[in-house]
């Protein structure tokens, strides 16, 4: 019997939803286990890093890597898995574009530590204890990974063959990607797989008429009509600046698209495009009125780059 191809899955800076997305293949997960020899999947099975370290280079056929890179352990694993894998896949939005953890690029290590280990009301830390890279105890030295100032995407750290967007990637797309891997039907390296080449609006079934608005609302502020375009009702929907393929599930439950599938093909900066679209539908030519309407968006950067700040053109907030 021919040897089964080797599969690895790794979890870096992400919530774990991508792991669930793979498990959510339901019974098909058995086909995956049947087709592949799983060599690393810390979330589900007991593997140690040293098991991977002893593997020959390029011996893992496919590695699905989810999560952004924001500490030295994740960076080390990204390099290690790159070395050991033939095909490295940035699986999920965090690995692809930074995702929600990427929003930390509005801050830096110092301000995050200050908030987490001091400012939060539930924190009692009178001695000002902070994580240390190494600490001497009678038994020897204890070490922790180093926390970085800036969150990076996987491709900003190591070369990546494929990108599977989604927070998390929808089941049908994960299935299609694994199917393509099993059949050796992958497209040219560098491609985004498991998504379409159109925008979310193409998948969305809502009625679209005329987009002219005099103010933006947050989803909780109004009860939107469930049959018409949310943007026309003043709710910021990122669908028109976002790659489709997800089937627009958020829209089907009256929630706007937040942009987790990233920019459509040939768009370099998702937030810039969304901002451009929002500016276009503001229905006034008067400067004061433009300012009033713009002020109804409380966090423009957060809305435009909710899932892709590290992959955006400016990558992070400038610091002094």
């Amino acid at each position: 019997m021919a040897q089964k191809p080797k599969l690895a899955l790794y979890w870096a800076a992400s919530c774990g939803g991508c792991e669930i997305a793979v498990v959510r293949l339901y019974a098909k997960i058995l086909d995956v286990a049947e087709a592949f020899d799983i060599v690393l999947w810390p979330c589900i099975m007991d593997f140690k890093y040293k098991d991977v370290e002893v593997l020959p280079d390029k011996s893992i056929d496919v590695c699905l890597f989810n999560g952004a890179i924001r500490n030295s352990e994740q960076e080390h694993m990204a390099h290690l898995l790159r070395e050991k894998s033939k095909v490295l896949v940035a699986y999920g939005t965090c690995a692809y574009m930074g995702g929600i953890p990427g929003l930390a690029n509005v801050a830096n290590r110092e301000s995050i530590f200050e908030l987490v280990y001091h400012d939060t009301p539930s924190t009692a830390n009178d001695n000002g204890v902070r994580p240390q890279l190494s600490y001497q105890v009678p038994e020897g030295e204890l070490t922790l990974p180093e926390f970085y100032d800036t969150v990076r995407t996987l491709a900003q750290v190591v070369p990546v063959e494929y990108f599977v967007p989604g927070c998390p990637p929808v089941r049908e797309q994960t299935e299609a990607v694994l199917q393509a891997v099993m059949e050796g039907q992958l497209p040219a390296p560098g491609s985004v797989v498991g998504a379409s080449d159109k925008t979310v609006c193409y998948d969305c079934t809502r009625i679209r008429e005329d987009k002219r608005i005099r103010g933006f609302h947050r989803p909780y502020e109004i009860i939107p009509d469930s049959t018409h375009c949310l943007l026309e009702q003043g709710i910021i929907c990122a669908g028109l600046a976002t790659r489709g393929g997800c089937g627009a599930p958020c829209l089907s439950v009256n929630m706007p698209c937040r942009g987790c599938y990233g920019p459509p093909p040939n768009v370099f900066d998702q937030g810039g495009k969304l901002l451009s679209a929002l500016a276009s539908i503001i229905d006034t030519q008067d400067q004061d009125e433009i300012e009033r309407i713009a002020d109804t968006v409380p966090d423009l950067l957060g809305v435009c780059y909710l899932f892709g700040l590290p992959a955006s053109m400016l990558r992070r907030v400038r610091q002094d």
């Binding site: 030295s72 901002l275 500016a279």
Partner: protein
């Protein structure tokens, strides 16, 4: 105050019908203005995608100047109004990014305003000299060892 002879780099987008013609007039009239501006002609100020501006800042220009027709004069009826809305939102977002909104400027210059064009460039150059160089992406520290 000038920071040690710092010369800002300005990227300009000028609309074909008004500002570019105004810049041309400044040239043919031999009006002197600072050489810090690199200009790109676009058909309309409404053609300037926010992505162009973000890319310019990502590549390290110190300021971006967008010139269009005066309100009511747009060759395409309302392209300059679109530019006005976009630039307002973009300035708001640049502030969130820690980039001073003053580094992005939208000005109306007509084809007959050569002197005004020169004045705008001189004034913007002065503003940018006072602000100093843009904080560069290259300085982003990833690790404590950087």
């Amino acid at each position: 105050m000038d920071r040690n002879g710092f010369e800002p780099l300005i990227l300009g987008f000028a609309c074909n019908w008004c500002t570019y013609a105004g810049a041309d007039l400044a040239g043919t009239s031999r009006i002197q203005y600072p050489p810090n501006l690199r200009m790109i002609r676009v058909m309309c100020s409404g053609r300037v995608d926010p992505t162009f501006v973000l890319k310019a800042f990502a590549r390290g220009v110190d300021g971006v100047l967008i010139g269009g027709c005066h309100p009511g004069d747009c060759h395409y009826m309302e392209g300059n109004y679109k530019a006005r809305r976009r630039i307002h939102l973009l300035r708001k977002m640049l502030r969130d990014f820690g980039i001073e909104p003053e580094r992005l400027r939208l000005e109306w210059v007509s084809a007959s305003e050569g002197a005004r064009f020169a004045q705008v460039v001189a004034d913007f150059t002065k503003t940018l000299k006072e602000l100093g160089p843009l904080k560069k992406d290259a300085k982003i520290a990833v690790s404590q060892q950087d």
